[in-house]
Symmetry: C2
Subunit: 448 residues, 2 copies
């Protein structure tokens, strides 16, 4: 880094919690830096609430926010809608699929994560992940299509049309299970006259022995109790070994017929983390120094879900919105310190707690330094508050807030919009022999 | 129709203003009828406001409403999500693409309309109509993609990336022109730092000599004045003769480079109207008797946009939401009269007036029997009121209302969601030689 007095250019890849958090913090620096924020979408995605979109509780505009609108009063942030094809950390530049080049004095890689299918045969082709807005819209359409199809033809229930299999009992899987059970008991019961709603089954399959592993024993028990009360079938200490278009196979050889497998089993870094020639670790994530820079590449930072950031115990911090947001702001401060010739500081994650929503008026939360445990309605109210706070941090306008609260408390449900016909089209009577999944499973079986 | 005391079954095709209006009116009959309402979407589409979705003023849930939610407290309405493949008016039955059959004592065909491209070469392949929710979402994505692409690469403006051509100056085209000009002057100016907004041009091409032909001379002048003030280029007494991927050709041979042609030039009946073997007239619409039945087919009604309904002067009534809604309610009353052995009555359209929005705080309205003319802010307020009233008639829940007003008055803009990547992907440097449009144009030229 040269120490000329001129304005420095910070190039940020990714407009999630990490990248946007970094950009907004840099925006406060006045004229010392200008920022180019590149994202392949023109909206910030609020992933923690995608399960509510998928279960028709919230609408698209409650969980996605225009990057341009968020940044429109920050004159030193320039937004570019582009998909990064290649990162060159030596020159701190990126090449986009639109065949354009961007170069910065600093390069911040905050490209996020995507589903990790752990090479389970058929998982990639036949499951619904929940990590992008499109994922959530597609899953909403699939869920609604299953109810619609079965309402027209009740015999489809015999083919598993009302079985929903959720893989992974982390926050995403657990919240999805609760939301789906809730949807079945309220809206679906009320609105589908010819549907045998009692035949609907939500399964949650988890390799480990508990729901919500990062939480306390008490939270595990509370979550189990709430989900079981709502009819969710728990398959703990169990794993999905194959996913076919019409069924899943579990580790013990048992089969669940289903047309909707929701993938909440794990994340890996976005592919550009791997192709950039940066040092990577677990889940393909970029290894970062304590100050969030990447060793050997001056001026390069990696943040959020695509980085392995060590926590106080030396283990990597979890892929959480709050970690991403804090790492983004911290990186911005280190960049500004660097420009001023001051030393960069090691990232300290302020763990305000963890929480998960299990159903309407049911949540678990563990907050503060002594991990004060809460559950039930109090945790639920806190869950709402924390998500609102996350939204504010991102400077989403007050109106969006009010609309969001309004939606949440007053509407029975958000829009039940079946608008992704690709996800809704189900080949009920196909045998799936020429299917991508079947081929993958055959290949995997042959390799054994 | 047999006159047994048992419950009669009314089969309705289409959940637009006509079909839904008919169903809701029949719902009030108590146990005398049961209704099956078939639509290929699970939502009612509020077409009059689609242009506001396309220009990021309203969100998807402001202009589409779950049919099941609207009808969930009407126990005698059964909704089926299915696409009709064939109508048999002799047996009053339909066969769906899902390979299922429905049969009624009465059959109501309210299948709506679609864009009429009048065989203009390239129009089908290269224009954006605005008659379905998907149309509006695709157009929104295209408009945003053009601004994003040009913000990255300002040279694209030379290829017409900021030229928008609207074909047809009826209410849809005029409202779209006003909404787009408004969007360019407010949001786009504020949010795209590297875009030469002043280079943006909105053209409106109309065969006739005026905007908003059904309105008075004064309204024509007012609309022209407002649109021209906002920079809209009027091409009256002009027509589009060819549409290519990168430009349109007008009747005088002049060319406008553009990547976004919006089709508001005309409607024709949905194709099932033609394939049903029913008598059809102008625009492929089903000819109906004064009581909305179809001659020669007892128990069959045709309504709304897919029917040619004669007005008091003998000419067909226009394709308007209010005509559709009133014809739906009227048909319901005639069906109930028929069941009771009473005579059916000839449809009387109560013309409450016409109105169109030309921009924010600018509208024209002609209301009441003596066609009281209004324009400006008063007409604008009335426009809002009338659309709210249409929404109420459809029994949309109060919350939706409030949210809608809220959205409209407090947000600068609705979600600028570029989520239809198919519509956003533009081949800027392709010469289009192997293109569907070019082939159609070549074929048309050869035929001359």
């Amino acid at each position: 880094m040269t120490a000329t007095p001129e304005t420095k250019h910070v190039l940020i890849v990714g407009g999630g919690f990490a990248g946007l958090g970094c950009a907004l913090e840099l925006a406060r620096s006045g004229g010392r830096v200008r920022v180019t924020l590149i994202d392949r979408h023109n909206y910030h995605q609020f992933q923690p609430l995608f399960y509510q979109l998928a279960t028709s509780q919230l609408s698209v505009n409650d969980v996605s926010f225009s990057l341009r609108r968020i940044c429109c009063d920050k004159k030193n942030i320039d937004i570019k809608l582009a998909e990064v094809a290649k990162v060159d950390p030596q020159t701190r530049s990126v090449h986009t699929k639109e065949d354009e080049n961007y170069q910065g004095d600093y390069l911040v890689v905050a490209a996020g994560s995507q589903a990790n299918f752990f090479r389970i045969p058929g998982a990639d082709a036949n499951t619904f992940p929940l990590y992008s807005l499109t994922d959530a819209e597609r899953l909403r359409s699939r869920i609604l299509a299953l109810f619609e199809d079965t309402d027209r033809d009740p015999k489809l229930a015999e083919q598993g049309s009302l079985n929903f299999v959720i893989v992974g009992a982390g926050p995403t899987g657990t919240e999805m299970a609760g939301g789906l059970a809730d949807m079945i008991h309220t809206t679906v019961s009320a609105e589908y006259a010819d549907l045998a709603v009692t035949a609907a089954r939500v399964y949650i399959v988890e390799r480990g022995g508990t729901l919500l592993a990062p939480f306390s024993q008490r939270a595990h028990e509370y979550a189990s109790k709430v989900l079981q009360r709502d009819g969710v079938q728990l398959r703990l200490n169990s794993s999905v070994t194959e996913v076919h278009p019409g069924h899943v196979v579990l580790g013990d050889g048992s089969i669940i017929k289903t047309r909707c497998v929701i993938w909440g089993a794990g994340l890996m870094a976005a592919p550009i983390a791997n192709t950039a020639g940066l040092p990577t670790g677990r889940g393909g994530r970029i290894q970062v120094e304590p100050d969030l820079t990447v060793a050997g590449f001056p001026g390069v930072y990696a943040l959020g879900d695509c980085a392995n950031i060590a926590g106080p115990d030396g283990k990597a911090l979890p892929q959480l919105g709050s970690v991403a947001l804090q790492s983004g702001k911290w990186a911005a401060k280190n960049i500004l310190a660097d420009i001023e010739g001051k030393p960069r500081r090691a990232f300290h994650y302020l763990d305000k707690g963890i929480m998960a929503m299990i159903g309407r008026n049911a949540a678990v939360a563990e907050v503060g330094e002594n991990r004060h445990e809460l559950n039930g309605a109090v945790a639920y109210a806190m869950w709402l508050g924390v998500h609102l706070a996350l939204l504010t941090t991102l400077q989403v306008k007050v109106e969006t807030f009010v609309e969001w609260i309004w939606d949440y408390f007053l509407q029975e449900r958000g829009p039940q919009l079946l608008d992704r016909s690709d996800a809704a089209r189900i080949d009920w009577y196909g045998d799936g022999t020429d299917d991508k999944a079947t081929a993958a499973i055959a290949a995997a079986t042959a390799a054994k």
